[in-house]
Symmetry: D3
């Protein structure tokens, strides 16, 4: 038997050398267009493939009565290069995830608790809106403006996942009113009222 | 005002013509390597982007005490071409999702209820196993053998999502024992016992 | 000599059969996630690879004093599947291309005439703005909100190209105010004033 | 036992519906940028995944004393969408595969018999040349001009494979001298002699 | 003439600066999801694009009477980023390449000598099996279980190539019986006998 | 109001951490198959997304009476990873961009001034030629030989863009006559005259 084992051990010896089944992100290494550098396979453990941050409810004591808790590659480096990521949406009564896009990914939402009114707007300016109940799923195609609103009386919870390990998140109100986008340029490129822009910048903390 | 509107309507008129933000699958049309043909945009409604099939618990009255309910492009054609899909895992007490692979996708699992012991095996023959509680997330890199087992006393529920709208699913036991794979070839390519192979084929319905 | 030629003709005979150097779009055929069906190679002529639509100035007699003339795959089917497309921007004095995104492509702008103030907003709510003169180039990364404004006294002209044959175009004001997006939902997901929303819908032709 | 089997049969019933592990090309159906339409899975047999055309030596009785026998998706539709294909190179004594490119794929050559001198030219105009013996492998990066020459006294045989199921093949001499490329334009864009161009067109069958 | 040359030298001077026709892997540098870092172009020689390791027969004096000799990017860094790789299969009389998958690539097999019985199992649990003779080619779609068996009396030799420079290799028996996969979990997720699992672990060197 | 702002600031705090909307190339860092390493987001400014090098006419005082001025990722690092790049073509009277390929990209040409005769040759040895006037657009599918000639009396100017941030450029005459490609091998693989090859090497500076 020992003889047989030694035969086997000398066989396929390469399979130890070329482990690129995965590329757990080394957040301290160089980053490239395809993602983070890979942690050394010999230092990778099972903990690198699991993440517990989505188990904790987000704090919804804010003006939108909602919270987004991401599990993107920056939070969960085991996702690096695998083309998938997730986030948790907590919506208190009256909670709203304002209009936003993910520049680099499509999104799939699953309602875990409560009910949610969700929708997106196409390039043809058609709005697709659905009321979703517990267990319902909705998909938001890549890069299009979309929103989620608590449609029931009590708290709602959803898990959303993305077709990228780093989908990005551009919240329309933050892009306009929490950024350094100069007010005259906002007015010129959106037709919004300067007074309204200034008021919303005051609320959200924008400058310029 | 009417003048202004007519100016606007003549502007960007092309945006109505080239709607390919999405490609809702037309299951009756030709299929290509990139997926189903697209349903005509004019026939697409909000219903095409939502799916309610994951809201219903799978039937776990079977030998594995578990059920997989998919929302792949074949069930939910709105996913076609978007690089994402989902499934629901129901695990009764003692339930097991047997060893399997998804040939074309990585998988992200979120525990919704109960606790689950999950793991995968790398190309280097290292096994990465984690016990996951409610809210925990685990990723299974593309194409590798993995499993999920109910690790608590009561029912467990998980939502899994994939980095493809058609991830595929190859269950090891079904590939071997529920297929037409001839028993002598199974024995020769796995070193399993012919008697065992025949016994498992009888249970699972294999031939050959 | 004749002998030699016949030898040659029998050689590499396959190269006539498998012409998929290109896939000129057949706009009447089925569409899939990767684009239009291919026109038969035998019917393809040099005309399929050229397009003259960008040679004509767009009509800027409208409220934005600007026009976008696209050469996407729907207008120029020779681009189908080649991962590139173009458009022409005409900006009269005071002209503005309002805030918009391309859900599926990065954009490269070249100023042909005049000067243009252009910018985009990142996921981190940072605004990157540049004044561009004739010959200057600017890139707008995929899926992010961006704008272009005539920054000189006279007309400006730019050619923009995209990293997709069908980049899509979502104009923020059109998505909000020229669509069927119900006013109460706009207010709830953007914090804008209902009165303002209604006013802009009246101008742009939105409903709901 | 019968009870158990029926349980199993009702489980995972979806796996019969969504078979897109592969997409055997239906050469009669519509073609798109990603390849041929898929043959119905129910009509696919093991024969679709095998091809015997590379077992026959190509006819090298021609001016280049060489032959290329392809197994691209047009000849072997089972490759459709799988990102790989092959060809057989036969080189009689003195045989030459003239300078050529594959517009859409990198190439890997394995010498099966004899010895071959092979090389490619980079974008920096550096030539990388190797003499390869039986069992040696060489890679030619995508889209670069390369050649293979019999470097021994007797016949040589190589198998080449490509990183695409439809790599394309542009043979420099055929593009110039076996096409309808007008002689004055060839002279103008290559600095070659008109007399030489006409002579080579006469040999290879070009017009224009 | 000297004048002309100096004109030319000042032309296209950029083509020396941006050499990324290829990215020969620097095995000592950082690795990312897309592969190894690139060796400096100035240090690249023709030797980087050739590999002689497949010219030597693998040692088949082992229990499977077979050997796999890889030319993946870890062995042949010139393949890095080019989407192709190869391996040599040696099958002595009675030799078997046991059931395995390549998590990230499709495979193309060419029989160079002898005859081989090969097959794969689809997601629908259909087995596609072919007897292949010298010169025959077979394709194994990405991620599916497949095997190769010497089908003749004498030695067989095949060259296999892959649609990735790092296809991975997961051998079923090694994943189960040569790994640290705990025996109770194997039994629970495969329905195999604990006694059989322990026996095969003893032969193959597994633990747990 | 202060209370509200602090609520907002604690919300979505992650969006500051994971900025990978773009990956401005760090030309001094490691390079991988997907491009350059990313400059630190905190060091990125608006200047990184703009480039002024295409505003200057290339020097056409050379034998081809033409100049190519590139804006690839090596010159304009803001393009890194975004799948697009550009170049400026200056053609004096009688100017010619000789036959060339881009190994990794399709090209889109827009005529800005003058008129241009342009064409490409397919894998089937068909030549597609068009005379283009100001404003006309033409596409050259990936990897195929193509050319541009000034077709008017005065200077012509074109902007070309590519479906890659690093398209590569292989000029046929330079590959043959400005490289170290040994003359006997050129003759053998192209059927050109040794005398002609030597003459052109003398003009263009080739060796070997």
């Amino acid at each position: 038997m020992i003889l047989i084992i030694s035969f086997v051990l000398s066989l396929f010896s390469f399979s130890h050398a070329s482990v690129l089944d995965f590329c757990v992100g080394d957040l301290a290494g160089p980053i490239g267009p395809a993602g983070y550098s890979c942690k050394k396979p010999s230092k990778v453990t099972a903990d690198d493939f699991a993440y517990s941050g989505l188990g904790i409810a987000g704090n919804t004591s804010n003006i939108i009565k909602a919270a987004v808790t991401p599990a993107f590659d920056a939070q969960f480096p085991g996702l690096n290069g695998l083309g998938i990521s997730a986030a948790r949406l907590d919506l208190a009564g009256g909670g709203v995830i304002p209009l936003h896009t993910h520049p680099g990914a499509s999104e799939l939402l699953v309602v875990i608790q409560g009910s949610i009114l969700a929708g997106f707007i196409s390039s043809s300016n058609t709005v697709y809106i659905k009321k979703l109940n517990k267990g319902d799923v909705m998909v938001f195609p890549q890069g299009l403006l979309h929103f989620q609103i608590n449609a029931g009386g009590s708290s709602a919870l959803a898990i959303v996942t993305f077709s990228s390990s780093n989908p990005g998140l551009q919240i329309l109100d933050f892009a306009l009113f929490k950024s350094n986008f100069p007010t005259p340029l906002i007015v010129e490129t959106t037709f919004l009222d300067a007074a309204l822009v200034k008021k919303l910048k005051a609320v959200l903390g924008g400058s310029g």
